[in-house]
Symmetry: C2
Subunit: 382 residues, 2 copies
DNA sequence: CTGAAAGCGCTTACAG
DNA sequence: CTGAAAGCGCTTACAG
């Protein structure tokens, strides 16, 4: 790809020299006047400013030259550009979008552009996409990214690049050492949700998680919070907290929710793993899902298999982003709400404070979550 | 805000001069070798390249200087940065996000950063936000924006700014003169949807639209398509196409869907305007909504008022972004699907072609839409 | 109080 | 085939 183009004729933009000529002063004087911090005669400053304004001088257009000149003296400029990195599929996930809104609002209000970058994007041949050029040449004043994304090596890559160095980074959703963090208290939300179920009388709960890691079912901190809540009620998690891994097809738009109705009409339906599991574990009376999408899929699946919600099984979601509406439009799903837009705002605020130098060290923000009790949870059947 | 910071000690990045010294050649030679297009001795080129590589020379880090130097010769560089402008609330709208994904994918794969900009953002005091700095200084190679946004004056503002000039612009969703367009054939979708209803036997249809303009109910092109479809069946739109303006509270997350259930328990419920309208116009047997969210709200409202869907009223949505699921998770809403991610890809492709110079003039892409018939439409009751 | 100078890191005519 | 020169537009020491 040819990177250089010869543009169609442009009106030449106004430069310091143009102003200097018109004012009959030197370029240095104009530069000083424009920067404001000088011992020039007030009258000179006023005259230069007036002429600059009249000629339509646009300093932002010449920031490149300014940056270059400043390097000589070992100083850097704020570029008013930050990147928001995230895995490609996040643009489909409502809880990310709420956060995105908060970030974009705060940074936009401060005059910063927010550049989006997919970290897990791949070329057609499967090779990983490199960062866009903007992100590789010191244009970025800072970066916001989900903790999971940073943990995958993005942070190291950024720190190693000459263009980024030790500029500020804010981790979103999950706390990460070596940068600032803006996270919601999701373990607290899990604890509340579990207490809610236990207080209703449930004793065997199915924990629907993402995938297993060496440390346990991910996200591990939430799993541990669920365990602790059980222990508070004198229950041994090993016996009372049942584990069920989430299955990708549940929320894949091409496979989820589409086949149940068709199966009705057709041949014998294969048993859904979740239904099988519950049939062999009749002591389970409640499901705690890692997000609303999983909760909804469990709900549809169980309804289809003849379970009544919440009479036979109580279901709790997470995030409060995907409603389960009845025919009146009322959301029935008990879930844990995270202050996502606020989380985004806080992430933006932390980053700005570091960029402008108002803050020096890393800072962590932890926002409370809130259990929202609706109609998908009830006392277990007796 | 102080724009300049004195950074912590950075390792000085490698420059042409460093390489030149090590190679015992001049800076010009190094520059030529690095650019590749020269009549240098192949051996020299090889040696310079090897040393540059070994020293870790990063050309992208010095793009600023390169840009500056190129200006002297009236040439411009591609900056690998484009902006995507949209009204603030679009980050909540699923149909925009699908499109966003397509845009980000295509541009990311080409090494371009995508910078998001809110056009309707306001400061706390209500004043309109200016563009972020990046967007005001010639950093942008091009812009993508919804047609509605461009029509509000963004295009003029961009063209008038020295930093942007006549760079390429692609209009999304709605066609706009004076730039390239990537739009879906929504009028075609409306026509199909209306034919579907008329073929089922409906004769009086309620058209739920955004708001009235001088040209008619917006979006006007879709309204006219609805009229034409009626005329094809020998019906006069003036008598058979009933107009109902959309009410903002319907999709405001703070007021929509929340109160119906609570009202059940409480005092006398005020009649919903839609219900009132249908009661005074019993000849209406079908609703054609401008998007799925409105269709869903109409559905919930009518269900609550005792109407059966589709037995009493057929409902057609638009976009296929918001499902109306039954308890099995099956989507019941008949609607018109737009190829949104593809639309985003096309918009990105058009922009890239202009930026790289592969395409010269404006180009328009029109993608077909598709009626998806589900269970919310049926023959009218008789 | 103001200006001439050196230089950020690069580019491309232009000499040799 | 290679290098010295001029310059992009700016900045800040440093003289005067």
């Amino acid at each position: 790809m040819n990177d250089i183009t010869t543009p169609t004729a442009h009106m030449a933009p106004v430069t310091l020299r143009d102003i200097a000529e018109r004012c009959q002063v030197s370029k240095s004087t104009v530069a000083q006047a424009l920067r404001g911090q000088s011992r020039l005669a007030p009258a000179t400053v006023a005259r230069v400013l007036a002429v600059a304004n009249e000629m339509g001088y646009d300093p932002s257009f010449h920031e490149g030259a300014r940056r270059l000149a400043l390097r000589k003296h070992g100083r850097e400029m704020i570029n008013h550009l930050v990147a928001l990195f995230f895995p490609q599929e996040y643009l489909r996930i409502p809880f990310f979008l709420e956060t995105f809104r908060g970030i974009a609002d705060v940074l936009g209000a401060a005059g910063f552009g927010v550049c989006v970058g997919h970290v897990t994007g791949t070329h057609a041949d499967g090779s990983l996409l490199p960062f866009p050029q903007v992100m590789r040449r010191g244009d970025l004043d800072g970066v916001i990214a989900p903790g999971s994304t940073l943990a995958q090596g993005l942070l190291d890559e950024l720190r190693a690049s000459a263009g980024f160095g030790n500029r500020p980074v804010v981790s979103l959703f999950d706390a990460t050492a070596a940068c600032s963090n803006a996270v919601a208290d999701t373990p607290g939300g899990v604890r509340e949700a579990m207490r809610h179920l236990l207080q209703l009388g449930h004793r065997h709960v199915l924990w629907v998680y993402y995938h297993i890691t060496e440390q346990g079912p991910a996200p591990v901190d939430r799993y541990l919070a669920a365990c602790r809540a059980m222990e508070e009620f004198g229950l041994a998690p090993a016996r009372h907290l049942h584990l069920f891994p989430f299955i990708a097809e549940w929320v894949n738009p091409h496979t989820a929710h589409h086949d149940l109705a068709e199966l009705e009409a057709g041949e014998a339906e294969p048993a859904h793993p979740l239904v099988e599991y519950l049939e062999t574990h009749p002591e389970i009376t409640a499901i705690l899902a890692i997000n609303d999408a999983f909760a909804l899929h469990a709900w549809y699946t169980l309804h289809h298999a003849g379970y009544a919600i919440p009479e036979d099984i109580s279901i709790v979601g997470f995030d409060d982003t995907d409603p389960m509406r009845d025919a009146h439009g009322t959301n029935l799903l008990t879930t844990v709400r995270c202050p996502l837009e606020t989380l985004g705002r806080e992430a933006g605020r932390l980053l700005l404070a570091r960029i402008t130098g108002e803050a020096v060290g890393e800072e962590n923000v932890l926002l409370p979550t809130e259990l929202v009790v609706r109609r998908s949870t009830a006392k277990p059947a007796e």
